[in-house]
């Protein structure tokens, strides 16, 4: 159910087999040359971490929107013109707020499910076996390797995207940003912040 199509290790036997099947499909006229790459590009072009960042910035400046976002992610992002429909189906979006002594982090232990519509294609480390197998077991240790040292009092929740939902983290608004406008705030938000492997 991976919704990405990266080839980080082209020497892998699976990648070779995929290329072979693709070549056969092209040779037999089922696919135009380069059609798969083109379709993937079209699919990925719909998503970007800038969407997630814009949603976060709105939630930071508008407490009512924040409440709606946490209650029903799909309905709230539709207010801003976004949807989870760039994948094969309109996926349920659950947004979890960091703050107080709560920290959330997202993983897909079974494959690499990811909210592509809001975050774009997932980073390589998100799909790595090391991240997928270790973050459920030792999130504190894994986050430390990302440079994120959380106080011992912080309660960590790991969200495993094992079925149909997709998850996004709402980072805590950094201190000292009270004067910033929505656009400037959105510029602070990183992809890692939206996954939960960074504070913002």
């Amino acid at each position: 159910m991976s919704t990405t199509h990266d080839h980080p290790h082209d020497s892998a036997p699976v990648a070779a087999r995929v290329r072979h099947v693709e070549a056969l499909l092209e040779a037999r006229g089922h696919l135009d040359p380069g059609e798969i790459d083109r379709r993937i590009d079209e699919f990925a072009a719909g998503g970007s971490p800038a969407h997630g960042a814009a949603i976060v910035a709105r939630a930071w400046v508008d407490p009512n929107f924040r409440e709606r976002l946490l209650a029903d992610g799909n309905a709230a992002i539709a207010e801003l013109g976004y949807s989870m429909g760039s994948a094969l189906q309109d996926q349920k979006l659950t947004v979890m707020a960091n703050g107080g002594d709560e920290h959330h982090v997202v993983v897909c232990t079974l494959c690499s499910c990811y909210p592509i519509a809001l975050l774009g294609p997932s980073p390589g480390w998100y799909k790595s076996e090391a991240y997928r197998s270790r973050v459920v077991r030792d999130p504190r240790g894994v986050l430390r390797e990302f440079g994120l040292e959380l106080p011992g009092s912080t309660r960590i929740t790991v969200w495993d995207a094992s079925a149909e939902s997709r998850y996004m983290v709402l980072p805590r608004r950094p201190a000292g940003t009270e004067e910033m406008g929505e656009r400037e705030l959105a510029g602070l938000v990183t992809r890692k912040g939206l996954i939960g492997t960074a504070l913002v």
Binding site: M1, K92, T94, T109, L110, V136, R137, D138, P139, R140, R155, I156, T157, V158, W159, D160, A161, S162, A163, E164, S165
Partner: protein, 92 residues
């Protein structure tokens, strides 16, 4: 059909290791957890993977203590699970 579980219910995941595709991760089998919320209704992935028609049934966010999953750790893990994977805690 009515949902089998609701938020707050204590459940236990099945221990079955099916021969084909499943979305019950191995680390979360035979473990006690608590239903956080219902996450919609979807055909069972296990059946769809085998090309079978599958009617939508409830999917839940279920929260587990790391210590129950791994024998250590102070965090929690929320896994999204079809009701087919769950039994009432203490049930058979």
């Amino acid at each position: 059909m009515a949902d089998r579980f609701a938020a707050g219910d204590r459940v236990r995941t099945r221990t079955v290791d099916p021969p084909g595709h499943t979305r019950l991760p191995r680390y979360a089998r035979g473990v006690r957890g608590e239903v956080v919320s219902t996450a919609g209704h979807h055909p069972l992935a296990d059946e769809r993977a085998r090309g079978l028609t599958s009617s939508p049934r409830a999917v839940y966010h279920v929260r587990f203590a790391a210590s129950d999953l791994f024998g250590e750790g102070d965090h929690t893990v929320v896994v999204e699970l079809w009701e087919d994977y769950l039994e009432p805690e203490g049930g058979r």
